[in-house]
Amino acid sequence: MSDRGERLLQRGRPAEACAAFTAAAKKDPSNPSLWLRVADAAFLAGRAANAARAAARAHALGGGDDTLRRALQAHLLAGDEASARRALKGRAGAEAAFWLAVLACRAARWAEARRLFLEAAAADPERLAERAGLFAAWAGHRAAGVARRSEARGISIVGLGWKRPRQATVGGLDALAGCRKLVAVANTLDDATRDLLCLFRAEVSAVAFRGSEAEAAAAARRALRAAAAGPAGTVTRGNPLVYGRFAARLVALARAKGLPVRVLPGVSSYEELAGVDRPGPEAPLGLELRNSHDAGTPGARAMAVFTPYSRSKGALPHRPALWFSSEGLARAPITRVSAAEAASMLARGGAPGILYYASSAKMPVPRLSFKADARLELIGAIELVSGARAARFVDPKDEYAAAARKLLKPFSGHPAVRLQAAFPAAFDFVERCELAHRLTPALEADAARFLPESSVTRAGGRAAVDAWFEALRDLSRASDFAAFFRSRRAALDKRAGKFREAAAAAKVLEDLEAYAGRPFDGTYEVRVSPYFDAERMLNAVWPSGGATRALVTVIGADAGGRDPEYYLRERLPGALWHQLAHGYFDASVEAARPALAGRHDGRATPSFGSWEQCVKEYVVIAVTARLLARSAGEAAQERFLNNGDADLFPAMPALIERLREFEGDRARWPRLAAFLPRLFEAFPAKA
């Protein structure tokens, strides 16, 4: 063998590898294995004819079924059926029958192909039962009739499954059968895949892709060039879009060029894993997947999908994808572990069942996210078209706003536009967002998310609000606003990046979890819109059925522009902690209602309308103040508390003192919830 050739091949330099193998083969010309490596490298280098010659030479030297198979593969992948037929002439036996069946497939003689495949499988079951049986199924499928026609142009990205070609789908192969050119990712090109590609009369080539972003882009460009002259296809392992850097690049490139792109899914690693697991009939149906950068989230029970992306983000390493094979998976016991346990197992460097799975549709999704919201963008776009007269509305006056205005311009007479233009001035844009962001994604009112009465009144009453919601739904459908939002989403989400980074830098979630002594098992969405007033913030806390509530905050994309340093270091983390603390402790305050009834804070009338609500605010403000003190210093706590609201909270200094006591003895008080009764003692007892 040629070590140099192998090294070059591993480095993705097939042309040089081919030269190295050829040199080695010329020194040892009677060695068929060397000529087969020449064939492999030549094919990867785009020299299919050279590959065919080398494989034929190997077969002439070896003469067995294995070299016959390789020679026939090389001929057919080079599009040379005549040479393949010559190689088969006069040959009997199961392998020859198999290849005659392949030739019948290429000629669309499906019934004959199926018969020959079954004969081959019966004649040599040990060697051919699997591949011939699978291909007989394919030929049988085609013989039964395929209704769908081939695409005239575009590119089909076909996943061959975790176990290929066993998990190749009929739709994937139907798509490949309609292609003029096929591009295979080099790491899929094992013997079984080469057999599969030989079924099609397309021009086949390979692209090298070993995982890097640059290679993915280059491979995608090559695949796209193949689609220039007619329908083309490409094959990948597993599901193209899971770990799918190449496929994702290809999709993006094709869309940018206006080329139709179809993705035919393959059975992925997580589906294979789920097939080995045996959840009982009583377990909830379903599956949840996360990226591995979420895998460390405490409390999660999910299956991790490990990706190159997450590796680059400093999350868990990519190793688990390499740790199991189909065979290993079948033997390995499936261990259900929490995400934190899995992260710990990874950190220790090795354990079975690292990919983990739980079929729990009821599982909450712990996550702090910053993103754009279609509901807010829709009413913002309408506001642009209706004259942008609403108070507290921001016209970003940028390309995005221009595109939104252009989209809705044909609908300037639509009821949604007219209604929004006619709203009372008191129902400003922030108020409109207050109602809109409580709707379901389908813009329906959600019984679980009440609409604030004050906002409804300012809008003109419930009937006016309902008419507006109905008009929003209609306009969203008529203008296909969802498609517009999808196309803009990435850019909009990017505007939320500075807030996301600030929250990560301040360790908002981690610090609160450590302080509370339990993981955050709710959801917190921070919705960021360029139309929203930079000086305002909307907050909502909704029951979610779990221990922690669903939290939402709306902020403007330009929030903090006046003093970014202060905003991102203190104001934003403080606001997030405030909301998160509501999620953590509101229920505890409600549960302590009887004990709190005997206490007060010295004010004749409690702030916030009720003593219970007032205590909730006390708790979250005190916790937020202490977290700010710990992250940004005691001065930050003072700035936070001395913001003009001090008279609303006369007992706050006493609560802060109690929290210092809690912080000083965490061995005794591992959880803040257990300390709350002691915290409430900071309120004087009623006489």
């Binding site: 179809r262 379903g286 599982m363």
Partner: protein
Amino acid sequence: MMGGMKGMIVVCGLGCDPEREATLESLAALSGCVVRFCDAKPETSAWLELRVGALKVPRDAAEVLAAAREGLTGLAVWGHPTITSRLAREVLAAAEQDGVEAVVLAGISPISHAMAAGARALGWRADEDAGWTAAPEGEGPPAGAHPAALFDAAAGTVRVVR
């Protein structure tokens, strides 16, 4: 058949769009079975019957298991056996209890189906595609930021929500 086992059942996932997503191994395995059941829409059964031979509509897990004790039996289900099919789970649990060997051939799940339909990747842009949930209509999805594929196994449909 493994030593001590009494019969064998192959449970095959047909994917969420069986006419496109059935795998070669499922078709080949079902073709080789003595008795075949299909728990899917009649159109799907008609399509499958042309490819693998006669199919029965299963009454319940007990009927499937009784057939498996007599000879190699196949059960084809919409979607993925252990993710979307309660019948498949019941059959697998009963098979384990009765010592009937059971093999699961994975199918395309609602998550993969939805990802492919939207051509959106998992794991390429973590900010956008940090996760997916597949849950039955009416039982899910949990509140969360990532997309969900809501499936109705009886109707053979997948709906994507964000």
